[in-house]
């Protein structure tokens, strides 16, 4: 549908996903550049995001919290590494404590978003994420899915053993 390609490299710990939209790069940039629009897609419907700070300049911070069905909140942040509106946004994404401060002991991931014009009109949005280590990938993505992961791993082992 929207997603046109996915490339995952389990050795380099990177994932690149592209999607195409029939809008201009300026319009697509607003999804990132306007905090109210960012809030509408960053979190899933069950965990909508509320953006607090939003400074898209190199070294600037974006902070947000996501609120779950039980009222539980999880906080996160972006630290902006590079920005070239409306083409490129590179950021570090991590978890924050209840006060919204980055948790130094928690690993972070690097996200690189690019907008390229399509020859026939519209844009390609490319999102590339890099995880610094398998341990970081496990902590960032594995949180809350440990049981599911164990089951999946068990199934893979069963297939390999058959």
């Amino acid at each position: 549908m929207t997603v046109t390609s996915v490339h995952k490299d389990p050795e380099l710990l990177t994932m690149t996903v592209t999607a195409e939209y029939g809008v201009t790069a300026d319009r697509a940039w607003e999804l990132w550049g306007d905090p109210r629009q960012l809030e509408r897609w960053w979190g899933p419907p069950t965990y909508p995001a509320t953006v607090v700070e939003h400074d898209l300049t190199p070294g600037g911070m974006v902070t947000y919290f996501m609120t779950g069905p039980e009222g539980d909140q999880s906080r996160g942040w972006w630290r902006i590494i590079d920005v070239e509106a409306p083409r490129l946004l590179v950021l570090e994404n991590g978890f924050a404590d209840d006060a919204g401060q980055p948790i130094p002991a928690m690993p972070t991931m690097i996200m690189r978003m690019r907008l390229d014009d399509r020859p026939g009109g519209g844009v390609v949005m490319t999102m590339e994420t890099t995880f610094p280590s398998l341990e970081a990938l496990e902590e960032l993505i594995g949180m809350g899915m440990e049981e599911g992961l164990k089951q999946a791993m068990g199934q893979i082992d069963d297939i390999l053993a058959a």
């Binding site: 929207t2 389990p10 897609w41 949005m125």
Partner: protein
């Protein structure tokens, strides 16, 4: 399971330098180290667990693990207060499953972006 490991190594052997091949063969030339690789292929183990199987000190086991790690056969990671060891094939499979989960996160986000962009704007443009 060992066969699986060798198949994997054959796949990457073209990308290995002579020095890396030397390290690989040196690492597998020792019976204890081969045994460790076999034990951690499917299940990660703590250094303490591994040390129970061999009549040697924990430090000696740690040295063997370090040689295997240097050859790219196992990886070490911290789990609470424990150091755990696992085979590289297992590590790659774990990464695959986690990246699959992460792929779904972005598929969902891109779908929501698509819905958002399809909404008519106040100015009537898209």
């Amino acid at each position: 399971m060992r066969l699986g490991l060798f198949k994997y190594n054959q796949m990457v052997v073209d990308q290995l330098s002579d020095a890396e091949v030397d390290r690989l063969f040196h690492a597998l030339a020792d019976a204890t180290r081969r045994d460790i690789v076999g034990r951690v292929l499917n299940d990660e183990q703590s250094i303490t667990d591994l040390a129970r199987h061999y009549p040697m000190s924990m430090t000696a086991v740690q040295k063997h693990v370090a040689v295997l790690e240097g050859a790219g056969l196992v990886t070490k990671h911290r789990h609470g207060r424990e150091q755990r060891v696992r085979g590289v094939v297992q590590a790659i499979r774990t990464a695959q499953v986690l990246l699959d989960a992460y792929e779904q996160v972005w598929r969902d986000r891109f779908d929501r972006i698509g819905d958002l962009l399809a909404e008519p704007t106040e100015e009537g443009t898209t």
